[in-house]
Amino acid sequence: EAGVAQSPRYKIIEKRQSVAFWCNPISGHATLYWYQQILGQGPKLLIQFQNNGVVDDSQLPKDRFSAERLKGVDSTLKIQPAKLEDSAVYLCASRRGQGGTYGYTFGSGTRLTVV
């Protein structure tokens, strides 16, 4: 099966600009996650979707970050305006469901550099 697709692979923007990342999960995967991975750290969950509904966005900086998952398939993560500390890799992951035995499949991420 095809993997989790993410684009773009790299993005460089100036602070205060806006940026959007796109994720296409594996077909049939109802659960989708966005993680932020700052250099030298492990990934941190930003938001979790179940189909097109938000399950958890408690760690999403809502004053500048937003995310949506239209029709329960593709998802976009937006940052507006970006800050220097937003420089990180943004990983998308999907699972078939919330059940305990389903594995996670990760995309290759988008590396964002804010200058």
Binding site: G3, T31, Y33, G40, Q41, G42, P43, K44, L45, Q48, V55, D56, S58, V89, L91, A93, R95, Q98, G100, G103, Y104, F106, G107, S108, G109, R111
Partner: protein, 119 residues
């Protein structure tokens, strides 16, 4: 909240030798999952091995095995017969068995250990 600690930022191993990566975690739950993920330069997280807390037997996947000490909240990864392709970042991760709402099936990661394999 659960925390995962990896105390070794970097490790190196000679090709064909054995190396052990350490991980400790903190939780008040009695049942959960623990994982080791590999992240090569391609950035994609790849599952190496998974352990269910209620299973006393340590998980094994080919050259990869774990030493799971539930009382000590320790979950180390042993890589035997190390190969050049094993060089990567390795992340230990915890997942609660909360089944609904916030926290459900989230992965909590440690900071990672960079493994180098010396030819």
């Amino acid at each position: 909240a659960q925390t995962v600690t990896q105390s070794q930022p970097e490790m190196s191993v000679q090709e064909a030798e054995t190396v052990t990566l350490s991980c400790t975690y903190d939780t008040s739950e009695s049942d959960y999952y623990l994982f080791w993920y590999k992240q090569p330069p391609s950035r994609q997280m790849i599952l190496v091995i998974r352990q269910e807390a209620y299973k006393q037997q340590n998980a094994t996947e080919n050259r990869f095995s774990v030493n799971f000490q539930k009382a000590a909240k320790s979950f180390s990864l042993k890589i035997s017969d190390s190969q050049l392709g094993d060089a990567a970042m390795y992340f230990c991760a915890y997942r609660s068995k909360i089944t609904s709402g916030a926290g459900s099936y989230q992965l909590t990661f440690g900071k990672g250990t960079k493994l180098s394999v010396i030819p």
